[in-house]
Symmetry: C2
Subunit: 341 residues, 2 copies
């Protein structure tokens, strides 16, 4: 009998739930809005209704391996409580896992959303043939996930993988985590717009200023479009994105010597404009990278670097994510399988 | 029959070789000078003579589990070659492991010296009851080691654990690794003296200037003595040491969420003058530390923080190493046991 699992990607905007076969084949995907304005209980009920619906529908022909849920926040794995969640503030210090288990009458696995995205890219994406990898998810914030031996590395309380809050500039921009100069302050969509507004305020970026005035939704995407059209001020901002990523990745490569580091999230669409700066920093800052770099590091947008054969005597690959916004959904569906071992 | 192994700590100054029982009891320790001036072959012969002597002497009453050797440099685990070694330049790109194996007629395990120090502290030192830990060794340079599940985390080529070359100040002091502003540039004995000389050159540290003129061996130890006697300029230097360590440890805590981080090496004797700055940075820069800090982090020199019970729902402990210069010797002796699994 085929085995399947149910994965949930609980985002601040969308609530997505999928039934996925153990082989990685998608059976059915349901996308709902996350109605945070109607309150936590409403969202929990929506989620549990859909999980029950999918479970019932497919349990006739396949066996359910389990339910995995990706949540945007720091999760205490011991208690199943959300410790911090900028996008779901009402969920903090609330026993999310046991509330869901009570509603469904079965065990569920809760996991940080960036960790499940990493697990998804490891299972079916850029790192599918590798046991160890790390991922940075560049979105509104910067999330991180570490997979060692095919499983999410949780650390002692389930809080590992917070690469987005590695210090890049000790006296840099104030971060909402309480620190200064975190990676998130240079490589998130929010940071890209902030850096553009700072450049505008300095009076030294007239083209950015015109764009901000004419575009009501002046966003990271606007700046990416300007950068690929050759605007120097926009390019400078993506150089800072790549430099910050390169500094943090250099430390990760030196510390962990993994075969692959995957860059995902919405901002990774701008790969071609920031990736060259990543590789520039890596070559200078990481002796481990210098000793293990592929002969022609992919600075372009083709993602061809992922084709280099890793393994014994292997190379350090830095590459784009392949699954887009589905990484978290697939990773959540993978949780029950890797965690049961 | 008792099992024992032979551990070797090959340093730039001393070559130390010990027979250690599997229980951690020292049987015999031999200390020789590392006669680097007489050439690599001379040192290898000294080492192999002593290993053979100890093996023969104790194999009558105990069984030899194996031989582990800690080497100061980056080692390619695949080939057993030393890739980089500032203290043993003549050993780079030389097949160290196979040459030793040829001389001894048996398999040996080669490992980076900071990795074996971490393994030693995990086996018999500060982290003896924990499966996972990281260690920073503050000496002439800054070495690092990561132990996960009781074994050294090698990464793909055996080059993991190079925490000493994490960027602290992107535009900081030039490092011999090719990067700028590495931890090693702020937290090594060499860096402490450099920072003092910089302060003297600026004309703003008259007491340091007097000390440098009157003390032919103006060293990190001189500066430590001045700091504990209350000299402000010396204290400022150790504040910078602690701050740099705190920045890097914050990133490690956020990324790995380990129960313990151990600070060893000669500079760790100055723990009481730099540790308060470590904890100051950690509380500000690491949300994972903020969520898992012991109620009263040990900023003092007692090492009492190591007494806090780790484990499920556990705390993040930052503490001094306990084994001093023996950490590497014990760790090397432990290698054959943990690597045979």
């Amino acid at each position: 009998m085929t085995r399947f699992s149910i994965g949930v990607d609980l985002g601040g905007t969308n609530l997505r739930i999928a039934a996925v076969e153990e082989t990685g084949t998608l059976i059915e995907k349901v996308t709902l809005g996350t109605k945070t304005s109607l309150g936590r209980d409403h969202v929990l009920n929506d989620m549990c209704d859909t999980i029950r619906h999918l479970a019932t529908k497919y349990q006739a022909t396949a066996s359910l391996a389990g339910i995995g849920i990706g949540v945007p926040g720091i999760i205490d794995m011991e208690t199943g409580m959300v410790r911090e969640s900028p996008n779901l503030p009402g969920w903090v210090d609330y026993p999310v896992r046991s509330e869901i288990e009570k509603r469904l009458g079965t065990r569920v696995i809760l996991e940080n959303d960036a960790n499940v995205a990493a697990l998804g890219e490891k299972w079916l994406g850029a790192a599918r043939d590798l046991p160890d990898m790390a991922m940075l998810t560049l979105g509104t914030g910067v999330g991180g996930g570490l997979v060692l031996g095919g499983r999410v590395w949780h650390g002692m309380n389930g809080m590992a993988g917070e690469f987005g809050h590695t210090t890049v500039e000790p006296e840099g921009s104030q971060c909402k985590c309480g620190s200064r100069g975190c990676l998130e302050q240079y490589a998130s969509a929010t940071a890209i717009v902030r850096m553009a507004r700072e450049a505008i305020a300095s009076g030294e970026a007239p083209a950015l200023s015109r764009a901000a005035n004419s575009d009501a939704e002046f966003s990271a995407k606007t700046l990416y479009n300007m950068a690929i059209q050759g605007d120097d001020d926009a390019r400078k901002i993506f150089h800072r994105v790549g430099r910050a990523l390169g500094i943090v990745l250099s430390g990760m490569v030196n510390a962990l010597n993994l075969p692959m580091y995957v860059i995902g999230g919405g901002v990774s669409s701008a790969w071609e404009v920031f990736a060259p700066s990543i590789f520039e920093e890596l070559r200078q800052r990481s002796m481990v990278y210098a000793a293990t770099a592929p002969s022609s590091p992919a600075g372009g947008g083709s993602g061809a670097s992922a084709m280099v054969e890793p393994g014994p005597g292997g190379k350090t690959i830095i590459t784009r994510a392949l699954l887009g916004s589905d990484a978290g959904l697939y990773g959540a569906a993978r949780l029950p399988v890797v965690e049961e071992r």
